[in-house]
């Protein structure tokens, strides 16, 4: 059996056409886009073309796109870039975020709290969704920034972006609105201008692009403090020689993603996966949003009396690659995921939770095969529980 890769929320396989284009770019267009000569100009053209490709997917102008090294840097640049001036003035104020953010938002908010900001971390219901009334109540006259992720990386829960945007539009003093859109970009409709989003973080490697490149959408008129100083690249917001092949890859990945029916395909696979599990395995639960309600490409599923890590190891031994929780937190000592805790997954199921995530490359046959293997593994692991 060919290996089955079902960890697409962690990262995706790079599309062969993108690999080819990046190799060509590295081999032929190695000029520095800041150089005045023809080789530099050609590189600059490719960077600008990629900027347009990326912006198009967001329905935005190219000059709203700041290329970064990925989602984490984009999140840091957005949040710290907005709030640095308040720290300088000693006029910190307040931030609204959620309890289920990615660490690159969560940790920045923790840090800002130590710098004197008040932070409200909205809790979520068992579907992983915030309460809009609670959100309204959380807003204060001194709220500087709202940072809420679109699609959660562990459970696939989707926040009501348009409604949040509306509430902010009608607020007496409108704070800036940042969205971590890393898991949604290119897969689900995302319209920053229509929804009143000021800043949005995206990443290439979640949509079959390369690792190490992403972007921050910055609405025209929003001023940021750069987090790295130097030659003034990217409109002064992100100094450092442009990652030309990476940016070319991001542009292509954006265009490809927008042209492919990823959500439809992934939803069909997710439904089929759950159907197969239902027929094969007992004592499981879907964590977070209902199947149709959550993001199509992410399924969080908990198996009773199973250690998720052992299950994932056993699956990988059989050639099925699935993660427990999120890859970013697996190197840390604390095992229970903050997201699964926030949505109140029962104790017996937290340890045995897997995050299955699909891509356009996965097939129905693969799903059938991997559930067969999953069945074997769950049964085996259940024979060896700690007594």
């Amino acid at each position: 059996m060919k290996p089955v890769y079902l960890d697409n929320a962690a990262t995706t396989a790079v599309d062969p056409s993108i690999i080819e284009a990046m190799v060509r770019c590295m081999a032929k267009t190695y000029g520095n886009p800041s150089s005045a000569h023809l080789m530099g100009i050609e590189a600059e053209r490719q960077v600008e073309a990629a900027r347009t490709q990326t912006a198009d997917v967001l329905g935005a102008k190219p000059d709203t796109i700041v290329f970064t090294s990925g989602g984490t840097e984009a999140n840091n640049l957005a949040i710290r870039g907005i709030l640095d001036t308040f720290i300088e003035k000693g006029d910190q104020g307040h931030i609204v975020t959620t309890a289920i953010e990615h660490a690159s938002v969560g940790r920045v908010c923790d840090w800002l709290e130590t710098k004197g900001f008040g932070v409200t971390r909205l809790s979520v219901d068992e579907r992983g969704i915030i309460d809009l009334e609670a959100f309204k109540r959380a807003l204060r006259p001194d709220t500087r920034l709202v940072s809420i992720m679109h699609v959660n990386n562990e459970t696939g829960s989707m926040q009501p972006m348009a409604e949040i945007g509306d509430i902010l539009k009608n607020a007496s003093k409108r704070p800036l609105f940042h969205v971590d859109a890393v898991q949604s970009f290119g897969k689900y409709p995302f319209a920053p201008e229509k929804w009143g989003v000021d800043l949005a973080s995206i990443s290439a490697h979640k949509i079959h692009g390369p690792k190490g490149v992403g972007a921050l959408y910055v609405r025209k008129g929003v001023r940021l403090t750069p987090q790295s100083l130097g030659g003034g690249h990217e409109g002064g917001l992100r100094s450092g020689t442009s990652n030309v092949p990476g940016i070319v890859g991001l542009g292509m990945a954006s265009e490809l993603a927008a042209a492919r029916p990823i959500a439809e395909h992934a939803m069909a696979l997710k439904k089929y996966f759950v159907e197969c599990v239902r027929d094969a395995i007992t004592d499981f639960r879907i964590n977070g949003p209902g199947i149709e309600e959550g993001a199509a490409h992410i399924l969080n599923i908990g198996f009773k009396s199973v250690k998720g890590e052992v299950l994932a190891n056993m699956l990988s031994q059989q050639g099925v690659y699935i993660s427990t929780g999120s890859a970013c937190s697996q190197r840390q000592r604390t095992h229970a995921s903050h997201v699964l805790q926030a949505i109140g997954v029962p104790r017996d199921y937290v340890d045995g939770s897997l995050r299955v995530s699909f891509s356009i490359y996965n097939t129905t046959e693969e799903i059938g095969e991997s559930v067969e293997i999953l069945k074997y593994c769950v049964n085996k692991v259940r024979m060896f529980v700690r007594r």
Partner: protein, 389 residues
């Protein structure tokens, strides 16, 4: 430019007729520690070795030699011909170098005429060179008891001058005491135990028990990393990775759960011993420390020790955890050891392990298992990995 490092060795002195063997062992270890550093020569003096290496690599060489067991101390030295004018020049140069580095008021001379053919004797040299230094640096005074600078001059075929002495790793040359098989888990204790036995002159091979999928592949990488960190001390390390899953599953299914760990450890001892015998090792080494966990009480050790025929060295037996952690930090294995890739195995640690097991009962529980078959298959499945310094 060439640099010279003077190395002093310790306990080897005591070894009478075996001395050439120990010295030979040490020279080999010195040479292999310096592999890749450029053209290096090692010459012998009485109770000393002199390492000549390219000046550009002198610091790296010092660093590496500080981890060679059997050396008590090291001094980076200057060399010159046996000519008083040349010696004076070097002496002044060395003192000047030290003065530049910081507050220095006093000095003393420690000259030694190893070659009695040289025109001046040690006392005369002390007086003469002391005068030269005082002339060159009028602010310095002589202090025989608490000198800031102790300038050593040794007259041999050439003349060696040095002002600094750094502590060596001590112990005995690795390999001079034979070979032992270390049970290497990936925790804090076992690498320290291996290091301590290497310090006593044993060369070390490791055996690691791998329980994929109950422990992660990263647990194996962690053990590799520990071997890389031990190699500069132990020289070459061969690691045997034994598949342990089948054994754990069988014990789990067929034996009382409170006995799981003890029976498991008996299997580890058996496999380690067989691997030791096959590889010419004459002892086992474990990181056990009395009372640290349930499987390390006197009664538990009695049970696990029962299957061992060869000596089992437990160098940490009387150390506290904090003492072990201190050594782990010093030898730079601590940070690797505390990486959390081991805990999947908790499935096989019972909630209430025995602390006062009865050997007879454990042996009876084991009778349900195909001990020979299980051990044999684990040994057949061993994968070997080699680590050099």
């Amino acid at each position: 430019m060439e640099s010279v490092i003077l190395l002093r060795y310790g306990e080897i002195h005591l070894k009478g007729l075996n001395r050439p063997f120990f010295e030979g062992c040490l020279v080999d270890n010195i040479k292999s520690a310096l592999k890749g550093i450029g053209p290096v020569t090692v010459t012998r003096g009485r109770g000393r070795f002199f390492v000549h290496c390219p000046a550009a690599h002198a610091e790296e060489a010092m660093e590496r030699l500080s981890r060679v067991f059997g050396l008590i101390s090291l001094s980076p030295a200057s060399v010159c011909e046996r000519d008083m004018a040349a010696i004076e020049e070097k002496a002044v140069e060395l003192v000047e170098k030290r003065l530049k580095r910081g507050e220095t008021r006093t000095f003393r001379m420690s000259c030694r005429r190893a070659d009695k053919q040289f025109s001046m004797d040690s006392m005369e040299m002390n007086r003469h060179l002391g005068g030269v230094i005082l002339g060159a640096f009028p602010d310095l005074t002589v202090d025989l008891d608490h000198a800031d600078i102790d300038l050593h001059v040794e007259v041999r075929e050439q003349v060696y001058l040095y002002t600094e002495t750094i502590r060596g790793a001590g112990g005995m040359p690795v390999g001079s005491g034979g070979k032992a098989m270390l049970l290497l888990s990936g925790g804090i204790d076992s690498p320290v135990a291996g290091w301590m036995m290497a310090k006593r002159g044993l060369s070390i091979e490791g055996v690691h028990f791998h329980s994929f999928p109950y422990t992660s592949e990263r647990a194996r990488d962690k053990v590799y990393d520990l071997c890389r960190r031990l190699a500069p001390w132990c020289g070459h390390i061969r690691l045997h990775v034994a598949p342990f899953t089948e054994i754990q599953e069988s014990i789990y299914q067929q034996c009382p759960h409170e006995e799981l760990v003890l029976i498991m450890r008996r299997f580890m001892m058996r496999i380690a011993q067989r691997t030791a015998e096959a590889n010419g090792a004459g002892a086992l080494v474990t990181g056990e420390s009395v009372g640290q966990v349930a499987s390390q009480t006197l009664e538990s050790i009695t049970v696990t020790n029962d299957v061992a025929k060869m000596p089992v060295f437990r160098p940490l037996i009387g150390l506290d955890k904090v003492e072990i952690m201190d050594i782990a930090r010093r030898i730079d294995t601590y940070e690797t050891s505390i990486q959390p890739y081991e805990d999947c195995c908790t499935i096989f640690t019972p909630k209430h392990p025995l602390t006062r097991p009865n050997l007879g009962r454990i042996v009876r529980s084991e009778e349900k298992l195909d001990v020979e078959g299980l051990v044999g298959r684990a040994i057949e499945g061993i994968e070997i990995e080699e680590f050099s310094q």
